[in-house]
Symmetry: none
Subunit: 409 residues, 2 copies
C-alpha cells in the first residue's frame, strides 16, 4: 500500500457571510474531496498545538512528525535546502535578497527591481569567497531570492541581519544578539562578506547593462532569517518509506529535502496560483509508481487567503478537487491510502495564518469509515478522528499502511 | 475586539435524578447562556488534565495559561496577594486565622467566634515585628481571615503549620518538613512570632472588650498553607492585553493580582452566595470600557455545590444568566469575544471538586459556529471544540481576537 499526502496551504478558514456562513472549502463544489471524506475518517487537526498559530516551516515539520520546538532554529536552513544548497549540520543558513544600493549607501530597491534573470550568473561571481577560514556559499533562487550558507568553526545564528525592511535607508549593521565571541565573529565576517560582494557585484557586466537600461542593478545582498542547520530525523529511515516531494515553493522542498525526501523538480510547479495543477497531479501520479510516500503541496490556497480573496480561494479549491479523480479508489490501480489536510488555517478575514484547526481526512480501503459525508471544517468536527495533533498524523497514517511498529511486546 | 472571560466556580455537575437526570446547568432556564452556546463554539474543558481534580488556585492558574505544575507552591501566596499584601518573589506566604486560645493553652475557637470587626486594628498591633532579621507582615482579610508574609534570607515553605484543625486541643508545634537548616529556622521563628503575637493580642483592648462581652477574643494566630512566592509570568505582557479582574473571593483576586491584572475593588462583590450579581456585571461592563480583557469570577455556584444543594445551585445559575444580557452581541456596542466556563466541576452529589470536565463556550462574531444550541455538560460534548485543556484556552481565545503570535515564519 502507498500513501499520498496532499497539503493545501492555508486551507482552513472561517465562516464568510457572502458564502452563506460557510467557509471557502465548505462552499466549494468538491465532489472528489467529499468522496474521500465520505469513505474515510475525518477530524480537526491542530498542526502544532491548540491555540498555536503555525508558520509554514514549523507546520510542515510538525506534519512530518518532527517536533518544531526541538528542531526549528529559523527559516534560513529550509529556504537554503529548498533552493538546492546542500546544507550540513552546524552550517548557518540565511535567506538573501539581491537588492540595489545607491552611491550614497541607501537601499533603493530591496528586490533589485524583482530581477528575473541573471542572479545565477551573479552568484557564480561570488563563488569561493572565504573569510577567516569560513566558507561562504551563495545560491540564487527564483527572481531576487537567494540563500547563503556559512560554514566553519565558531559560528552562530545569534545575529541580526542587514535588511532594513524599508527602502530609502542605509542597511543596518549586522548585530550580534548576545555577547558570545561567536556572535561577534559571525556579525563581523558577514559585514566583510557583504562589502566584498558589493565590490564584485557593482563591477559585474550584467549590472552595468542593467544600469544602462535604467533597471535596478543587483549590486547588494540583504541577509536575514538566520538559522543553525539542525540535525533533523531522516523521514525515510524513520518511517521506512521511500519518499518524494512534489512542490513548487522553495520552503516546502527545503523541509522535504532536509528530512531526506527525494525532490521531484518540474518547472511547471511554480508554487504560486499560476501553477499547472493538472501537471502537478500528473507528476504526483507518476511519483506514486516509484515511491511509497508522496507529499504533494499546493500553495495557491494560502496566497488567495493572504489577499482575503475568498472567491478565488473557493475556485482554486474546486480546481484542485477536479484533479483528484486520479486518486479515487475506482481510478487508482494499486491500494492507496490518501491523507488530505492543510498546514494551517488562513482565514480570508484575517489575511494571515490563524490557530484554527484544519480539517483532515484519512482514507484507506479498510479504514474505520465515519458518518462525515463532505470535506470541510464543520463536517470534520463530527468525524471519528476527533481533534488531533500534527505530530500524531504520520503514526495514524502508517497504521493505515499496516506499517506498525509495536511499542512493547 | 475585547475579551470577557466569565468563570462560574464549580459549575460542572453530574446528572441528578430529582432534576430528571439533568445537571443543575442543564436543568436551569438559561436563555442567555444558551444564546452564546448557539452562536459560539462549545467543548468540554479539562482545566488541568483529564482525570485531575483541580483546586481553585491551580485551576485558575491553568485557565490563565500558567502551568500549575511549574508555578504552584501552595495557596498562601495567592491568598496573601488577594488580601492585598504585596508579595515578592522568594517571600514565604501563609493563610492565617485569628483564633481563640484559653489559659490552659487549648484552642477554643479556630475562628475567634467568626469575628467580624477589629482584625485590622489587631493586625496593626503586630506591625514591625522582626525576628532574627526576618520581617513579619500580617494583613487582615474578611472576618477571622488574614495572611502572613515572612521575608528575609534562609527561609523555606517546607514547614507544617500550627492549625490543629479541631478545637479543644493545644495547637501543634510548627514542624520542619525536611532536615534543611532553612526548615529548622523557619519553624523556629514562626514559633517565636506566634508567642510574641499571643502576648500582644491578649493585652489588646479590643480583645478585653470581647472577653467582657462573652465573645471569643482573637488572641491567637493559626498559620497554614505555606507557599514560596513564585515568579509567575505577567499576564498582560504575555498576552498584550490590559487586563482587569472582577471578583469577590480573595483567592481569585490574589491569582489575578500575582499575574499582574488590575483588581477592581467594590464592596458589593462579596465572593459568596449573597453577592450582588447585578452589581458584579455592571462593574464588568464598565471594566470592559477600560480594559481589553476582563475576568469575572462568580463563586456562589461552588458554595451551593459544597452544600449539595442542587436546587439553590440551579436557581443561582438562572440568576447569573439573567445578568448576561449586557454582553449579548445585540446589546454590547463593541466587538466582544466572550468565553464562559467553570474552574472545575463540583457535583452536588460529591459536595466537593471533581475531575469531570466543565462545559466551555467561546463566542466571537466570526467564530466557527457549531451545532450546539444550549449551554450544558452533555451539549458541550457535541461541540466543535471537542475536549480541550485549560492551558490551551487563552491561545484559542487570542486567536478569536486575532492577536496571533506565529511560531515560525
Amino acid at each position: 500500500m502507498k500513501l499520498l499526502f496532499i497539503v493545501m496551504d492555508g486551507l482552513g478558514d472561517r465562516p464568510i457571510s457572502d458564502l452563506g456562513g460557510r467557509t471557502p472549502l465548505e462552499y466549494a463544489n468538491t465532489p472528489n474531496l467529499d468522496k474521500f471524506a465520505n469513505l474515510g475518517m475525518n477530524g480537526l487537526l491542530h498542526v502544532i498545538a491548540p491555540g498555536v498559530t503555525p508558520g509554514s516551516d514549523t507546520a510542515h515539520l510538525a506534519l512530518f512528525g518532527v517536533d518544531p520546538y526541538t528542531y526549528y532554529t529559523g527559516r534560513g536552513p529550509f529556504e537554503a535546502a529548498g533552493i538546492g544548497l546542500e546544507v550540513k549540520e552546524g552550517d548557518i543558513a540565511f535567506r538573501v535578497n539581491f537588492a540595489t544600493i545607491d552611491d550614497s549607501g541607501a537601499i533603493t530597491d530591496r528586490r533589485a527591481g524583482r530581477i528575473k534573470q541573471g542572479t545565477e550568473e551573479l552568484s557564480k561571481l561570488l563563488e569561493g569567497i572565504e573569510i577567516d577560514g569560513i566558507q561562504f556559499l551563495l545560491r540564487a533562487g527564483t527572481e531576487h531570492r537567494a540563500a547563503l550558507v556559512i560554514r566553519g568553526e565558531g559560528l552562530t545564528d545569534k545575529v541580526y541581519g542587514n535588511d532594513p525592511k524599508v527602502e530609502g535607508n542605509d542597511p543596518p549593521h549586522f548585530k550580534p544578539l548576545d555577547e558570545s565571541p561567536e556572535a561577534q565573529k559571525t556579525a563581523r565576517i558577514l559585514t566583510s562578506y557583504v562589502m566584498k560582494a558589493k565590490d564584485i557585484l557593482s563591477k559585474a557586466e550584467l549590472n552595468q547593462d542593467r544600469a544602462d537600461k535604467g533597471l535596478f542593478p543587483a549590486n547588494y545582498l540583504l541577509i536575514r532569517g538566520p538559522g543553525k542547520v539542525p540535525k533533523v530525523p531522516n523521514f525515510e529511515q524513520e518511517y521506512c518509506l521511500e519518499s518524494a516531494c512534489v512542490a513548487g515553493g522553495g520552503l516546502y522542498k527545503g523541509v522535504a529535502r532536509m528530512l531526506g525526501m527525494h525532490i521531484i523538480e518540474d518547472e511547471r510547479l511554480t508554487g504560486g496560483t499560476d501553477t499547472d495543477l493538472s501537471a502537478k497531479f500528473d507528476v504526483t501520479l507518476e511519483a506514486l509508481n516509484n515511491y511509497d510516500f508522496v507529499f504533494t503541496h499546493v500553495k495557491g490556497t494560502d496566497n488567495f487567503s493572504h489577499d482575503g480573496n475568498y472567491k478565488a480561494k473557493t475556485e482554486f479549491i474546486e480546481k484542485i478537487d477536479k484533479e483528484l479523480y486520479r486518486f479515487l479508489p475506482e481510478n487508482f490501480e494499486q491500494d492507496l491510502a490518501v491523507m488530505i489536510t492543510g498546514d494551517h488555517s488562513s482565514p480570508c478575514s484575517f489575511k494571515d495564518h490563524s490557530a484554527d484547526p484544519v480539517p483532515v481526512v484519512i482514507y484507506s480501503s479498510d479504514c474505520r469509515v465515519d458518518k462525515v459525508e463532505k470535506f470541510g471544517e464543520s463536517y470534520a468536527a463530527e468525524g471519528n478522528l476527533g481533534h488531533l495533533l500534527g505530530k500524531h498524523l504520520m503514526g495514524i497514517a502508517l497504521n493505515e499502511l499496516r506499517l506498525v511498529h509495536k511499542f512493547g511486546a
